[in-house]
């Protein structure tokens, strides 16, 4: 394993700085302290988008080069992406209850986020279900591409559907907040912190995947036992003794 300890240090450092900034800025005018949720909500959704694009890149690159590294990248990035999407949705829901007095509403953006979450949850479930690394890599890559190709279609259909029907509901998600400059600065710090955290998580996850792959490789070398060694001659004496 390469010495990448500095990534964790950087992640913790930027995170702490961003946290300090988030707590330091004055409360937002309409939302008050609740608005501080934004520092988690928005960066995590942005980084989730980045993560899924990286998954696409990893999938395509794997299919072209057949290099295991790209598969590890795709898998690790999707995992972190699902984590971030989940966090963003959870934050949003916690936020929605006091502001809109419901947990959820069928706003196009919300629906899209949730569908994306499930598409990549499916991607991870697929990876989990396949034992053979080669098979897993290829099938996951194909589904990764299929998933990303579908996202624009899903986006388009959901947005179109929403614009056709202006919601008859009592809640209208209105996400425009008045942001003054300290607020925007803190937001950018949060984005930087999340980016570093994303990189750290992906790097660590890839390290782990590489370790697993190395273990496989090692299993295939001379020192390890073949599958065959699990089978021995029957111990007949006992069978006969038994009778």
């Amino acid at each position: 394993m390469t010495n990448t300890r500095w990534i964790e240090v950087a992640a913790v450092g930027t995170l702490l700085t961003a946290l300090g900034a988030a707590l330091f800025v004055p409360p937002e005018q309409t939302q008050g302290d609740l608005a501080r949720m934004l520092f988690v909500h928005v960066p995590s959704i942005w980084l989730a988008y980045v993560a899924f694009v990286v998954t696409l890149i990893g999938s395509v690159a794997y299919l072209r080069t057949r290099k295991r590294r790209w598969d590890h990248l795709a898998g690790a990035s999707a995992e972190v992406g699902v984590l971030f999407t989940g966090a963003a949705i959870a934050m949003g829901m916690i936020w929605a209850k006091p502001t809109w007095s419901v947990w959820w509403t069928w706003d196009a953006r919300l629906v899209l986020t949730a569908v994306m979450f499930f598409v990549y949850l499916g991607y991870l479930a697929l990876r989990r279900a396949i034992i053979d690394p080669e098979v897993r890599a290829r099938r996951a890559a194909i589904f990764g591409i299929l998933g990303i190709v579908q996202i624009p279609l899903i986006h388009f259909s959901v947005v179109w559907w929403r614009t056709l029907h202006q919601p008859a509901s009592i809640v209208r998600p209105d996400l425009d907040l008045q942001m003054d400059s300290p607020f925007v600065a803190a937001m950018w710090m949060a984005v930087v912190a999340f980016t570093v955290v994303y990189i750290a998580l992906v790097v660590r996850r890839m390290d782990l995947a590489r370790l697993e792959a190395d273990l496989d490789e090692w299993l295939a070398t001379e020192q390890t036992e073949l599958a065959e060694s699990g089978i021995t001659a029957p111990r007949l004496e006992e069978v006969h003794d038994h009778g």
């Binding site: 699990g230 089978i231 029957p234 006992e238 006969h240 038994h242």
Partner: protein, 221 residues
């Protein structure tokens, strides 16, 4: 079962699968300590006959007893646990490990859990205990079934092509099991397409043809 009374006694048995008649007017008697070979062409009904003897397929005509229980009454359910059958396909749960498969049998049959490792060792699978059945080769799965037979120690042993898929070492398991059953005064029916393979083990052979049994005419000249 009275001592000395036959283990299998079938009289004018007829059997069908769905509407297709498979066995007709079949007679068979196998005494305690007796081992017979069952031969017959493909599709002659050997597997069907074994399932009938194992009480899994009720006869449509005729009657008989197995281990003293009448095949046509619910009494036949009570002797099921004394019958051991290995068929063409392995009766293992693919997602469970070999060990878990045998543990299930041990728990149901009321055997001590320590026996599981013992019988797996006996069939040479001691070191594959934690491998899922799905990940085992054909012969390993068959060995797994033999491990179950070693555990449950049935009084009536029914083996459908006992040697198929077993390597020469494992083939000795069949002899061992058959001898053990004989010693217990039980009985065994061995189906085989290769009479020479089971010749040493059986007391006599019968041939299934046209839905009923005939004495083995011996090897064709």
């Amino acid at each position: 079962m009275l001592p000395g009374s036959p283990v299998i006694a079938l009289r004018r048995i007829g059997a069908r699968i769905g509407d297709t008649p498979i066995l007709r007017d079949l007679d068979l008697e196998v005494g305690p300590g007796e081992v017979i070979g069952l031969h017959g062409g493909n599709g002659s009904g050997k597997t069907t006959l074994l399932r009938l003897i194992a009480t899994l397929l009720p006869p449509v005509s005729g009657g008989g007893t197995v281990l003293g229980a009448d095949l046509r009454t619910p009494a036949r359910m009570t002797i099921r646990s004394r019958i051991g059958l290995v068929g063409h396909e392995p009766g293992l749960y693919p997602d469970l490990t070999l060990g878990e498969n045998i543990e299930f049998a041990a728990r149901v049959a009321g055997k001590s859990p320590e026996r599981v490792a013992e019988v797996l060792d006996m069939v040479g699978l001691g070191r594959s205990r934690h491998r899922r059945a799905l990940q085992c080769s054909h012969g390993m799965q068959r060995r797994g079934e033999f491990a179950r037979l070693l555990l449950t120690e049935p009084d009536l042993l029914l083996l459908d092509e006992a040697h198929a898929g077993l390597d020469p070492q494992a083939a000795d398991l069949v002899s061992g099991l058959v001898k053990a059953v004989r010693n217990r005064n039980g009985a065994a029916v061995l189906v085989s397409h290769d009479p020479s393979r089971i010749g040493d083990l059986v007391d006599r052979s019968v041939v299934l043809d046209g839905g009923s049994l005939h004495d083995d005419p011996g090897p064709p000249s």
